[in-house]
Symmetry: C2
Subunit: 260 residues, 2 copies
Amino acid sequence: MKEPFTSVWTRESRPAKSPGLSRDQIVRAAMEILDAEGVDALSMRRLGAKLGSGATSLYWHIAHKDELMELVMDEVYGEVPLPDPAVTSWEDMVSIFAYGLRTTLSEHPWVISLIGSRPSLGPRAMNLSSRMQQVFERAGFTGPLLDYTLSTVLAFVLGWTGPEIAWRAARERSGLTGEELDAAMKETVHRAARDYPELVKRYDEHQAQDPEVIQALAFDFGLTCLLDGLRVRLAAGKEDNQRFAPPSTAEHDESTKNMM
Amino acid sequence: MKEPFTSVWTRESRPAKSPGLSRDQIVRAAMEILDAEGVDALSMRRLGAKLGSGATSLYWHIAHKDELMELVMDEVYGEVPLPDPAVTSWEDMVSIFAYGLRTTLSEHPWVISLIGSRPSLGPRAMNLSSRMQQVFERAGFTGPLLDYTLSTVLAFVLGWTGPEIAWRAARERSGLTGEELDAAMKETVHRAARDYPELVKRYDEHQAQDPEVIQALAFDFGLTCLLDGLRVRLAAGKEDNQRFAPPSTAEHDESTKNMM
DNA sequence: AAATCCCCTCGCACACTGTTCGACTGTTGT
DNA sequence: ACAACAGTCGAACAGTGTGCGAGGGGATTT
């Protein structure tokens, strides 16, 4: 209805030559509030106050709050440590990337809640894509698989971090520590899995440890698994490029014609 | 600080014998609003109006809006089609589950934004866990791996669906269709990837198709990849149970002692 | 020197949010 | 008959994002 695909990145930034507020300052301040007090604590008035200016002044530098969110999100992508290409095996680089992304997201838990809202098209996200695709290219992946592999790794890490953050938030909300926390968690899980004795049994056997440790182990398993899979796909190579190739434009036109 | 691990599931539900409002009705109505108009459209007043009652009446049946969200989320998990165990290969069952979860989430896009907020402990989520763990158990996975495998698959699908939904939302927001949409997307991506000619080149070669088709292909690749990986892990078997096993409680105590 | 312009800030106002509180029904139990 | 309770609701509070128009101040033009 409105302008097509509007987002911060399609618009030009304000000159920002001024001595007062600047887009960077705003984004930085927003990040600080978000990191310190979570996504609910960030309001325009609060942000303005932190910057020593009125709330509505921000709207000169930023169109909506949503745009601000896009900006801070990209900032986070900029913090993900990128493996120096051509240093070790591609598997190691993927591992470094995956772990790095996980800890970066953990440091900015609010990002997860924004992932379904807008596609990440900011410069840092693009840089990240480019670098990781290089890694996969050197590893021997070709064609559309370069996209697919990266998307797959990304999906795994994003999807992993979500529930992980949810659990940590719940733990922190409870305000408990040590044995009290363990007991409360056990209580909760037992009650939730009341009707599933196997789940309870497995929980008691394996999960009765520091949850961070458990989750680290599980993440490592998932990542190992994924790397195994990628290795297999790499070996499958040529066939993949046929099997997963998008239909040619001609075919595509044909099929859409038939559909209408 | 407050009561430990409070959530809808730790509390008892209201008797709900009344002829008027009931928890189920509320949840159903909330779902309808969410599906039809998205997460921002759901307000207590709106929901009350839809049910023909005052906004504050809802608070008799539900503690906070957050709790309501937990309830609707679990409802969604209940819609995920579960593969009938012992019918085909475990790979097929995982595929069915993954595809089913993906389409279910696509039908309720607002769920994705809630994933980082609270752990999913509702009855349908538990049922889903139980059933899928059975699948993995029959496949030959053992011990903690039963948790890890499920978590890995879940992470992949969740993390995949997030960006996918973000793109679709952006497309729908644009209000364009057909060639106009294609052109607008191309424009946007070109501008975003301005500094990365390889990305642009790859996009022009592979992505200039119906985005839904591309994403389906990519999802299929990721899933194939994951299944390959799981198969490898299954074969690795015994070692995995050592490698990924949580430290015994004794060891755990030791290590924490040394850390402090 | 005066007038015009534009960048930038900001107070007010609007419609809306989640939630608390106390008052109000109608039903049930004794 | 009275009391206890389940359930509903209106008013009110503090807070939200943001449009609008009024201004200030520095640079540029006349």
